[in-house]
Every structure is written in C-alpha cells, then in structure tokens.
Amino acid sequence: MPILVRDGTRVLIQGITGRQGSFHTRLMLDYGTDVAGGVSPGKGGDWIEGLPIFDTVFQAVNATGANTSLILVPAAHAPDAIIEAVDAGIELIVCITEGIPVQDMLRVYQYVRASGSRLIGPNCPGILIPGHIKLGIIPAMIARRGHIGVVSRSGTLMYEVCFALSARHLGQSTIVGIGGDPVKGTGFIEILEMFENDLETEKVVLLGEIGGTEELEAAEYIQHGMTRPVIAFIAGESAPSGRRIGHAGAIVEQEQHTARYKRAALETAGAAVARTPAEIIDLIDS
C-alpha cells in the first residue's frame, strides 16, 4: 500500500472551473485518478470535463462519496475552502494554493488539527504515486514506479531530483510535496513516519531548504525513530539571511535556519547528506 492514499480514494476538485482547476483535472483524469467531480460556488449543476459541478463540498460528498479533496482556489478563498472540506468530513485535503496569509493558516491549522482530516500544503505541488494516482500538479513525466520515497518543501527541485532518479532507473514509491509556507498542514516528520511504516519504501530522499527548524526536528526523528536510510539535500546555502527567497517559509532569521546548520544536524543523525543534487544519486547507489 502506498502512503496517504488508499484503494477507494475518490477525489473532488475545489475550484474546478478555474484555469488551473480545469487544466489539472484533465491531467489527473488522464493519469487514471478517480476524480468524482468538482466544487465551484454558483456553478452547481453544470458539467466540466465530463464531471458534475456542485455548489458546496457537502453536496458533492453526498452525491459522489468523495473522500479526498484537491484545492485549487485563489489565496483569498482557500482558507474557507479547507474549512469547508474539513466540515464535510473529507479525509485528505491537498491544498495547492500559494499566497495564503500566515494568520489564516494559524487558524486553519488549529481547526484541522482538532478534526479527523489531514491537510497537505498549502503552497505545495501535491502527491504522486507513480503508476497509481496523481493528486496535484506534479508532472507525470518525472516519475517512475519504484521504492524510493521522496518528500520535499520545494516543487521544482523535487521534479528535478525525481527526473534524475527516474533516468537512472531509481523509481519512487510515493512523491510528496509538503509545501513552502511557514505554517502548513503536514511536516517532514509525519511523512517520514509514514515512509518508515511503508512496505514499498526502501530508502527516503528528503529535500529541505533554509528557514524554520523543521529539518532539525526531522533529524531527531531520523536518529531515534527510523531504520530506513535517508538521503537529504538542503537548498539555500548561498542565500542571504533575512530575506525571503521565493517561498514564504524560506528565510534565515537565526543560525538554526541555515543550510549549514541543518546539514550538520542531519549528518549527526545518520542521514547521508548530499552537497549537490547530483550527489543524491551517488549516495542512493552506495
């Protein structure tokens, strides 16, 4: 069994009528993802890509039995979309939206935590289980079925690394983008834990970056809770401190937030740390 999804994962797209929404719905259907329909307030009753549109998540869940939601709505509406999905009993919510205010995410995080739902993202590319399901915007061409679990704060860096892995016949069990925001639904530790318990995953690639201390907590988990080998890379060694480098969460405010500090912590914890993306492959092979 892969992580995060199960047999019977049935997907709703919140924001299905938007430009991004309809485009990525098509790609997910092409990949074979079981998309049941979409939600777009005020457009209930219409159809798109052969799928029914509903006004609310409740109506969509009642009509289709969907248990998973992909959120592709603008930042101003995304917090409400997440809360609506939680209230409708959605198990797994993947929020792609970038640019949600941090204070909104503080409230949403506490809301989700008190519920039975799991949130991936926001500001993430989603989940891809090669040959099985595509839940988000990760391009299918980068992936190949295999036994390496990949978890990353960054989207395109993850594409780059997976593409290189696939070219060397090092396939992936599950690819998860947890997102580049400072406050997000699911962090490294939770995904590492899932990989540790996943029979299909043999090794794990962790792609971190500057900002925050998540990688340090991940290092602690790797040291004390993991038996599977972890290969890590941290982006942003050359980044100036005190500046946000593209991702809202990528900012160095203290020494612990730097790439150097995180690399050292991961090395101490027993992870193999690559200096360049190309080195990740050498470390997996060895």
Binding site: V102, L106, I137, M141, S152, Y159, G236, S238, G246
Partner: protein, 319 residues
C-alpha cells in the same frame, strides 16, 4: 514587509529618573513586549522581557512567553499569567493587561508577523509608556491591508526588485555576477548554491534571481530576462528551467523575444529540461542567439556560468 522602526530618543539616564533632568517621572522598569507568529508551534506567541538598565537589545533577562491559539483568541488570564510571573505591580496590572490586549488586536487587525514595543517604560506613577516599536506585516496579506500596502517604502528596494514587482514577478538581488532566471524557489536556491559551489574560490556568485511561473507567457518571460539583465553587476546570465507544468518551448520563445529587444551583451547559458525541452532547443538554435551556450544538467550550467564570468573578467569586458 518591514516598516521603519520608530524610536523616541531617550537620554541614557532617563531610566534611572535622574532628578537633574526635567523628566518628572521615574522609570521603574524597562520592558520589551511582542506578539509574533511562531511557525514551529503553529500559533501566535505573546512574549515579554525586562531590559537591564539603560542598555538596549542584547541585554535581555528572562523572557516570559505564552502561546495563543488564534482560533480561540487571547484570553485575559493569559496576560494575567505573564503579569504575575513578571511580578508586575498591582498598580500597573490593569494598564498592562489593557496594553497587551491592544497589542494583540494590532497583531490580528494588521496581519502582522510581529508587533513589538521596545522599550516599554513603566513609570512610578502607574503609567505605561511605549517609547519605541516595530511592526512586520505578512506580505501575503497585503491584498486586504490596502492602507498598510500604500505605506510601503519602495526606496528601500533595489531597482531590479522594484521593476519585478511592477511586472508581477519576484526578484531577489545579491552581491554576485550571475543573473539567474529559474522556475520555482527551491530550484532557484539550488542553482545559486551550485554557482557558489563552482565560483566561490574566484569570488563568483549569483547577482540576482528572477522567478518565473508555469503560467507565464513568452512576454512575461522576456520581461523577467530584461529585469535580470538590468542589474549592472551581471556578467553572465543563466536560465535554468525544469519544465513540468511550465513548457520549455514557451520559455524558449520568451528568451528569443527578449534577446531581440535587449540584445544582451553578456554570455547566456541556457538549460531547459523536461516538458517540450527538445522543441525548445530547436527554437533557440534556429534563432542563432549570439553568445548562447546550452547545458544539459544543472551542474554543467552553473559551471559554464562561472567560466563565462571568469572569461569576461579576464578580458575586462566593458558593458
């Protein structure tokens, strides 16, 4: 987003209530209080500390912290807890609680990442005096903070960064010599790291990076290239795109468009991988761009960019 700090100038001996001075009230305590977002705990944190004597930052003693679940809001008992732990005198409690409530209101209402009073003076007459402070606003929230957005101090931004903002793009400037055009923040950081990796000994690094997005048109990509090149430090230009949703042929069309308009005088190193990469290569080769080199891997692209800077430095190539 930072606003400039305000600071009321206070004489060194003010904190001691020196009678020589005309200030009529003695200062009992100097405090620093703040409410800020705690990204690890995923909540807000209210925080206070005594400052020693007339000294400023760096001499804080114990700080007192209280987490606030912003979904539930700030409760008076939480402020009372801090006031009690800090031994704030009964006479000042009411004013302290009132002030912290207002500070929290300010944090919420202005979508702040951090709001701080430093120093906060407690006078002998039971008064609290905010003598300085700062406010950091969440940039993602500016769309609903028009008044604050209008007060943004644009003169503090470097020119390419301002140009990028006006064009709806993101640009970060740095002290190096290689201009970078990359899709995605993580890949951009990695690209700049590799430039540093190969160029460090020669003192070569990234001059800037302009982020492009999957939804960008060739015109926007041309604008991004123009902005990166507008930085006069730039001695070589590196375009690194991993096409997933972004189509490499769109990026290639943008590069050709931009080169026609600006005719770059620096070497161009291009690495396009992923969706429609082969087609992109054909477009770029057919355009016969002067001084353009193609790289297959990220590492090779960074190495070539460093070499290009060295070359122009060696010939002291004027721009």
């Amino acid at each position: 987003m930072w606003f400039r700090q305000f600071r009321i100038p206070i004489p060194e001996d003010f904190a001691t209530g020196d009678p020589e001075h005309s200030y009529q009230f003695p200062v009992l305590h100097r405090l620093q209080v703040a409410i800020q977002t705690d990204r690890n705990a995923r909540c807000a944190v209210m925080w206070a500390a005594f400052l020693a004597g007339a000294e400023d930052a760096g001499t804080q003693r114990t700080s007192y912290r209280m987490s606030i679940n912003t979904l539930r809001g700030l409760h008076p008992y939480q402020i009372n807890t801090i006031a009690s732990e800090m031994d704030i005198l009964r006479d000042h409690r009411e004013a302290f609680v009132d002030l912290m409530r207002k500070l929290y209101r300010c944090y919420i209402d202005s979508d702040a990442e951090r709001v701080e009073i430093h120093p906060l003076l407690i006078t002998g007459h039971g008064q609290l005096l905010a003598a300085g402070g700062s406010l950091v606003i969440d940039e993602n929230a500016l769309y609903r903070q028009p008044e604050l957005a209008a007060r943004r101090d644009l003169t503090q931004e470097a020119t390419p960064e301002r140009l990028a903002r006006e064009a709806g793009l993101l640009c970060i400037t740095m002290p190096g010599q290689v201009g970078c055009l990359v899709n995605g923040a993580g890949l951009a950081m990695t690209t700049m790291d590799l430039i540093q990796h190969y160029g460090q000994e020669a003192g070569i690094g990234a001059a800037n990076f302009v982020e492009i997005d999957s939804s960008d048109s060739p015109e926007q990509i041309a604008a991004a290239l123009r902005i990166s090149l507008s930085d006069l430090q730039v001695r070589a230009m590196l375009v690194n795109i991993f096409g997933g949703i972004t189509r490499c042929d769109d990026v290639a069309a943008g590069i050709v468009l931009a080169c026609r308009e600006v005719a770059p005088t620096v070497p161009l190193i291009i690495r396009l991988q992923g969706t429609n990469a082969a087609e992109a290569r054909r477009i770029l080769e057919a355009a016969h761009l002067p001084d353009a080199t193609f790289a297959d891997t990220l590492g090779e692209a960074a190495r070539l960019a460093v070499l290009a800077v060295k070359r122009t430095n060696d010939y002291a190539h004027p721009r």
